[in-house]
């Protein structure tokens, strides 16, 4: 482990320092490139020595991420990164542990591990690159694909509902839930910093374009023409405003969100719902701006930190128990453990 003095003495790292010597092999135009770039850009600011950073990924296009970071890392097996990362963090809580998964890796084969990771609350940052498709296996629909998705394995359209990842995470007791987008570098950098600062499992869903198998799925939220109308950029303490000319807002009528036109009927910014990251009830409502319609209205898709709560981490709980017991009872010698409580002697 590096001491603080050593860290201060070391020259500040640059984005390049975090690039491994391996050639990056995603398809041209893949949204994963942007995510890699933003991660490499913000990491020097975190001030964590490279040797203390560990990336654990599952399998999929997204999961190749690990090979491209000049940190420690394990590219593991499909869906299980959460479980492996739990073991890493349990054993050495000093490591800064990051995970990368695709939507299939996180929510399909890894769905069980995902929910348990959220509830356990290790201090781990989990980046899920959601392209709403299985990229690596060449284009089957995924558990986040919209109903009716026509893909390789569903030539006549899928017949099932997708997961809403933010709701899933909240339901599983995530302590940090955020969403960002490959095509909004500044926003992604902000969310990555917030995730890094959060003590507990930070779940960051990143909408990622797969130009090969699911091109343009998120363009409504990223392209100039539609972006402002379709997305809701959340900021703690700020009112919920969206629209082409910031002309719309969201009000709460009891627990029912209502879209109002700020240029009509004397609607005022002062009456709008002010985002409170720490309000779980409201976080559930915001997370629900996904496939829920109120009176036939589609709500804008929220981006930013949807929810954050502060609670002890798993590894702290685990270590504290050990420390308290050792303080109270002392560490038994191996001889004592070997003999147990009841022995007899044969002379």
């Amino acid at each position: 482990m590096t001491t603080i003095a050593e860290q201060q003495a070391a020259p500040k790292l640059t984005a390049k320092d975090f690039a491994s010597n391996q050639e990056v092999k995603w398809c041209p135009g893949c949204g994963d490139y942007s995510i890699l770039k933003q991660v490499q850009t913000v990491f020097p600011d975190f001030g964590v020595p490279k040797e203390d950073i560990v990336f654990i990924s599952g399998i999929g296009c997204a999961a190749r991420f690990t090979y491209y970071m000049d940190t420690y890392g394990m590219h593991s097996i499909h869906g299980r990164a959460a479980a492996i990362a739990s073991g890493v963090k349990s054993l050495n809580p000093n490591l800064s542990v990051w995970m990368v998964s695709g939507d299939g890796d996180a929510f399909s084969i890894g769905g069980n591990h995902f929910i348990h990771l959220m509830r356990k609350n290790f201090d781990i940052n989990y980046l899920v690159f959601n392209n709403q498709i299985y990229g690596l296996t060449k284009g089957q629909y995924s558990p986040t694909s919209e109903k009716g998705k026509v893909a390789k394995s569903t030539p006549y359209g899928s017949v099932e509902e997708p997961f809403n990842p933010s709701e899933l995470a909240l339901g599983a007791k995530a302590s940090f839930v955020a969403r960002s987008l490959d095509r909004d570098p500044k926003h992604m950098q902000m969310v990555l910093k917030r995730a890094n600062e959060h003590k507990g499992t930070s779940f960051v869903e990143i909408y990622q374009n797969c130009p090969v198998f699911n091109d343009g799925t998120f363009f409504a939220y990223s392209e100039k023409e539609t972006k402002k109308e379709q997305s809701l950029m959340l900021e703690h303490g700020k009112p919920l405003i969206f629209g082409a000319t910031d002309n719309k807002g969201i009000k709460l009528d009891g627990t029912k969100p209502v879209i109002v036109d700020l240029n009509e009927n004397g609607n005022s910014v002062n009456d709008l719902w002010v985002h409170d990251e720490h309000d779980k009830t409201k976080a559930h409502i915001i997370a629900g701006f996904f496939d829920t319609q109120y009176d036939g209205i589609n709500y804008p898709r929220p981006f930013g930190v949807i929810y954050q709560e502060f609670r002890p981490t798993y590894e702290e709980g685990m270590q504290n128990q050990i420390d308290e017991l050792i303080a109270r009872k002392g560490k038994p010698s191996l001889d004592k453990i070997l003999s147990g409580d009841k022995t007899w002697t044969i002379l």
Partner: protein, 626 residues
């Protein structure tokens, strides 16, 4: 130890000396037979007898009361001679109800003693046990040829506790203590150990403690004052090697072995596990060792359990996962990852009857092929097996040594029989255990260039670097790696090279393990019995008996199954005949035949039960006489 009550018999009995005795406590799951058996065992062990036990539980926690499905048994074999098995047949059967008698009578020795609780033989209980209307084994001659003691244990317990503040349910629950007291009297054993146990267990519930002790003494006094028992039996202490002993079950030995392995290797211990019979007790036991800095992690499933253990090993710990057959199957994919990563990991499979849920509370050795070949792709791994409860300790140390020195997952096989069974253990002193300190790599093995995570030493084992180590950052993963650099490589020749290196590395372990030698008998002759795992006690007993009777037979027992000891083929070919008994359909048999092309004979048993000595001996004699 000072005796609490006058142990002089109240009536004239004769004290019969016996070499060894087998008692079977049998009753409903709720009758406390496991506790009764354990207490008897602890006392007998404490007074220097050699011991082997065999607890047998039903698969259902609360099977319908009174039915044969709900019978729970505890068999203890204790003696003044060396004891290696819980015994083929019992000298004494305690049957607390009709179902218990029905299930267990068939293994009572001719002329043996049966003690029945008559309250368990009323019309209702007989019906529940499946006896035909009007039939009663206590009256219809079923017990002819046995010495039968019919006692209304339930009634005596109630009488003894009349006026106690306890409810009727709790009073009835004490009836096992009456039986235990009676058995202590019969075998001239002291009650002190059990009294101390009760006082400790119910320290916060003194009325329950008092009731139990009162009933225990009542049982003793019943034997002492009624004149129905004419004989008491005395088993002298065994001539065991001098030293300090404790009683140990296989699962407890496994847990302690893991704590010791952590200390000897200098690694922090991490157990990832998901509950499954009969492996859960290792998780329970280890969870108590927090003061030894043990981290236990109850995962959401077996996949997560092994993956967390892999993560812990990757981070520089001794990663361990415990399970049984079905869980082992779930771990298979991750085991492939650990194989290609080449990191230390202990995977402990405490086998039970399968496939699927099979016979979850019964024993079997049927996961050997799964351990040997249960991988996708070419991925041989070391497989080692424990042969007795206390041997689980040594086997775990051996597994941890191999895992860390050879940078590989190791599969350890035990089974329900030795996991739950117990025996006296002359435990080692910590100072006598050989350390195998792990030295993590902190220096670049490619000075001036990039660190090479797959550059190997003379064992073909690769460097173990903990994340957090300066300048040695590198990535590992499930994709095939370029030799030495560890970079992803899809090169055809490289894959073949790496596949062969990984296999050779495992084969090379044979240079670092002991040679095979006979456990009993000579190193050549007419017949060798080759065993592995928990059959050891029964084979040893059968072979030694046969040798004593003048037969030419030897016993070789394997701890290392992959790789086999280097001389195994040569040793086995020194005998005219080779017999391999297994609690499966012949899995080691196939391995041995395939590897050494020897015409081995199998003896197979798949009943969820261990071999009896006589089953083995009959087969040995059959071969020798043919």
């Amino acid at each position: 130890m000072e005796s609490v009550i006058d142990q002089k018999p109240g009536h004239v009995t004769s004290l019969v000396e016996a070499d060894s005795i087998v008692i079977r406590f049998s009753g409903d799951s709720g009758d406390g037979m496991q506790l009764t058996g354990t207490q008897f065992t602890d006392t007998a062990a404490f007074f220097g007898k050699d011991i082997s036990t065999f607890p047998e539980f039903p698969a259902e926690i609360r099977a319908p009361i009174g039915t044969t499905a709900g019978v729970s048994g505890f068999q203890v074999h204790f003696g003044s001679k060396e004891i290696f098995t819980p015994g083929d047949e019992y000298d004494v059967l305690v049957a607390m109800n009709s179902a218990a008698l029905k299930v267990d009578l068939h293994q009572l020795k001719k002329g043996g003693i049966v003690i029945v609780n008559t309250a368990g033989f009323d019309k209702k209980n007989l019906g529940l046990a499946g006896y035909a209307d009007g039939a009663n084994p206590l009256e219809d001659g079923t017990l002819e040829g046995y010495t039968v003691h019919k006692i209304d244990v339930t009634k005596f317990t109630k009488e003894c506790l009349a006026g106690s503040s306890l409810g009727m349910k709790e009073i009835e629950r004490s009836k096992n203590m009456f039986v235990l007291g009676l058995l202590f009297w019969m075998f001239d054993e002291s009650m002190d150990h059990t009294i101390a146990f009760i006082n400790e267990k119910f320290a916060k519930k003194p009325d329950i403690a008092e009731a139990n002790i009162k009933t225990l003494k009542a049982g003793w006094n019943y034997g002492d004052h009624t004149e129905i028992f004419v004989n008491r039996y005395k088993v002298a202490p065994a001539k065991l090697p001098k030293g300090v002993y404790r009683n140990i079950s296989g699962n407890a030995a496994t847990a302690i072995g893991l704590v010791a392995a952590a200390e000897l290797s200098g690694l922090p211990l991490f157990l990832g596990s998901y509950p499954i019979t009969p492996a859960s007790d290792v998780l329970h036991e280890l969870a108590k060792y927090k003061t030894s800095n043990v981290k236990t992690f109850q995962a959401e499933d077996e996949i997560a359990a092994i993956c967390a253990a892999i993560g812990a090993s990757y981070a520089g710990g001794l990663g361990v996962t415990t399970t049984s057959g079905p869980g082992m199957a779930l771990k298979t994919e991750a085991l492939g990852l650990a194989t290609i990563l080449e990191i230390p990991l202990l995977v402990i499979d405490i086998q039970r009857g399968g496939p699927s849920t099979g016979l979850p509370t019964k024993t079997e050795q049927s996961d050997l092929m799964q351990a040997m070949y249960g991988r996708h792709g070419e991925g041989p791994l070391p497989v080692i097996a424990a042969c007795s409860p206390s041997d689980c300790f040594d086997t775990i140390l051996e597994a941890a040594r191999i895992a860390t020195e050879h940078m590989t997952p190791v599969i350890v096989l035990t089974d329900g029989y030795i996991a739950n069974g117990s025996e006296p253990w002359r435990f080692p002193a910590a100072a006598d255990l050989k350390p195998f300190k792990v030295n993590f790599v902190t220096e670049n093995n490619n000075p001036g260039g990039t660190f090479k995570p797959y550059k190997r030493d003379e064992k073909l084992s690769r460097p173990w670097v903990k994340p957090g180590t300066k300048e040695l950052m590198h990535r590992i993963g499930g994709l095939e790696k370029q030799n030495e650099t560890g970079n992803v490589s899809y090169d055809a020749k490289n894959h073949e090279t790496m596949t062969r290196i990984r296999a050779e590395k495992i084969q090379k372990i044979a240079d670092y393990i002991p040679l095979a030698k006979p456990d009993s008998g000579k190193d050549k002759g007419k017949l060798v019995v080759l065993g592995w795992g928990s059959t050891s006690g029964a084979i040893k007993t059968a072979v030694r008996e046969a040798i004593a009777e003048g037969y030419d037979v030897s016993h070789v027992h394997l701890q290392h199954i992959n790789p086999f000891p280097k001389n195994l083929g040569e040793l086995l070919s020194n005998y005219d005949n080779l017999l391999i008994p297994e609690m499966n359909c012949g899995q080691l048999l196939q391995l041995i035949r395939a590897k050494y092309l020897l015409p081995a004979i199998g003896l197979s048993k798949v009943q969820g039960l261990p071999f009896t000595t006589s089953e083995l001996k009959n087969k040995i004699l059959e071969i020798l006489k043919s």
